[in-house]
């Protein structure tokens, strides 16, 4: 008689398994419940549509913005800015992170400085970057770069420090010189970790591009949100925020899929 109770408790035990289907079902239900609560709250008239339009109104607005091309144009501009800013930051951060993760001398020269800069709030740089580089794409690149580069350097340094000391010892006993050890052992060994760092910092890049576009821009997703505020188009604002979440989710999943493809040998899947 006690069997069903015991079974239900088991689901709430630490580490209890729920299966893939169970996981998807639970995750989807949470989304659905939230949308339903949103629909109920707006449908019953508790909240004015100016503050919170109904899910249906947001959906219809987004469909019309997609149909007339505004949505895709805005998304394209923001995506381009992220791509350039993020690639610029990553291309610079990877070699610097590898070097300061491997050489104490360079660590002493660069790590404390990076740590110091990284605690300066990125938003505070917005006025300065406008002063330096105007309100065009260059300023957006700069904000994304400031927001991601310094974090990436420190995270990649950490990825590199996790390379086992015996791997480097192995390289030495094989008579490899330091440069070869970096290229043939340290970098490939740290690569899965570096990829993970890039995936995480790409998420921040989405935030920084919108921050930059909210303040001074004539295009992009953030710009559309600011304009919509002027005209009290709450449905557009909410639709765009949700759309940004979806874009973030898609890029994250794409990076994860690439990771599974690139590092098929890894212990992570087999563990």
């Amino acid at each position: 008689m006690t069997a069903p109770i015991r079974r239900r408790r088991r689901l709430f035990r630490i580490g209890a398994r729920i299966g893939r289907a169970g996981f998807i079902a639970i995750a989807a239900s949470v989304f659905l419940i939230l949308v339903a609560a949103w629909a109920a709250a707006t449908g019953a008239g508790f909240i004015g549509p100016l503050f919170l339009p109904s899910p249906a109104a947001v959906w219809l607005r987004m469909v019309s913005l997609a149909a007339n091309g505004t949505l895709w144009q805005d998304a394209g501009v923001s995506l381009y800015r992220i791509l350039v800013g993020f690639l610029l930051a990553s291309v610079m951060a990877i070699p610097i992170g590898v070097v300061i993760g491997s050489y104490r001398l360079w660590e002493a020269a660069i790590e404390p400085l990076t740590d110091f800069i990284r605690y300066m709030p990125v938003v505070a740089f917005v006025p300065l970057t406008i002063l330096w580089s105007g309100t065009g794409d260059a300023q957006k690149f700069l904000i994304i770069w400031i927001g991601t580069f310094f974090q990436q350097v420190l995270l990649i340094q950490d990825n590199v420090k996790r390379v086992p000391a015996d791997f480097i010892g192995l390289g030495r006993t094989l008579g490899l010189r330091d440069g070869k050890i970096l290229v043939k052992i340290v970098v490939p060994c740290a690569l899965p970790g570096i990829w993970d760092t890039l995936r995480i910092s790409l998420g921040w890049a989405w935030t920084w591009v919108v921050v930059a576009e909210l303040v001074a821009a004539t295009s992009g997703l953030g710009y559309r949100i600011t304009v919509s505020q002027r005209y009290f188009q709450t449905d557009t604002i909410i639709g765009y925020i949700l759309f940004l979440g979806v874009l973030g989710l898609i890029t994250d999943q794409a990076m994860k899929a690439a990771e599974r493809l690139l590092f098929r040998y890894g212990a992570r899947q087999n563990a």
Partner: protein, 259 residues
């Protein structure tokens, strides 16, 4: 004939000032050509440090270290090392891991594959040549590491508790495999272990180190006939020697605890 490895009055300290610790004090040790010597001792006696110095991975303060009569100037291909941790590069297959060493040793690309397969055969892992390390057990990974260290024909093999992380059953299999290979091919081996049974089974000579500072306390010659097999574990001669070595180590442990 000069010794393969000649260590004379070698000392090593860590730290400076009040935290200065003498890890190794005036170590004298020589290994003859094709001799299998084990270093045993209570943990902290510096046996791994000594091996690491012979490998050229750590510096020493005073003394002399010669391989084939020439001073050691750092790590090199003349001394193959098998580490305690699994050091197969995870993005390379078993065969590619061996080839990695062969390429570093300057072998021609065409030869690498053949020599790598030959050595995987030696450790009975030819079937797993294309497996990645994550698909291999700990014992198999160490076998590949041994194959890799042997593949480029070093003058001597340095092993730092290579079976220390393995379960007892696998460890016995590895000891037997290594003994077979060694008895057939012969090579100078310096072998660090904390497993006395392992040391007695495999070695020609067992060197017991004392602690704080690390120095050589006693040397035991192992008179057991070769080829050796694990049935010897229960013979009078084996057990007596094992007991004697353990007793010597225990004296050191007691001394360290009393200090």
């Amino acid at each position: 004939m000069t010794a393969k490895l000649q260590i004379t009055a070698l000392s090593k300290t860590f730290g400076t000032g009040a935290r200065r610790v003498e890890a190794l004090h005036e170590i004298d040790l020589s290994l003859a050509d094709n001799e299998f010597v084990s270093l045993v001792g209570t943990s902290g006696c510096g046996k791994s440090t000594l091996l690491s110095i012979v490998a050229g991975l750590q510096e020493f303060d005073r003394g002399e270290l010669l391989v084939d009569g020439a001073p050691v100037m750092g790590p090199g291909l003349d001394r193959g090392v098998v580490f305690q941790t699994y050091t197969l590069l995870p993005w390379l297959t078993a065969r590619q891991n061996v080839e990695f060493a062969l390429k570093a040793a300057g072998l021609k690309r065409a030869q690498c594959r053949e020599v790598a397969m030959e050595h995987l055969e030696l450790v009975k892992l030819a079937k797993f040549a294309d497996a990645y390390p994550s698909q291999l057990s700990g014992g198999m990974q160490q076998r590949v590491a041994i194959a890799r260290a042997l593949s480029y024909r070093p003058k001597m093999l340095l092993m730092d508790e290579p079976f220390g992380a393995l379960d007892a059953l696998t460890r016995h299999q590895m000891q037997e495999l290594l003994t077979r290979i060694w008895e057939e091919h012969r090579l100078t081996v310096l072998f660090v272990t904390h497993d006395v049974e392992e040391a007695v089974y495999m070695s020609d000579r067992i060197v017991v180190m004392s602690i704080a500072p690390g120095r050589i306390k006693t040397t035991f010659h192992v008179g057991l006939a070769r080829p050796r097999h694990q049935d010897m574990f229960s013979t009078r001669e084996f057990i007596d020697l094992q007991r004697e070595v353990i007793r010597t180590i225990r004296e050191e442990t007691m001394k360290a605890q009393a200090a």
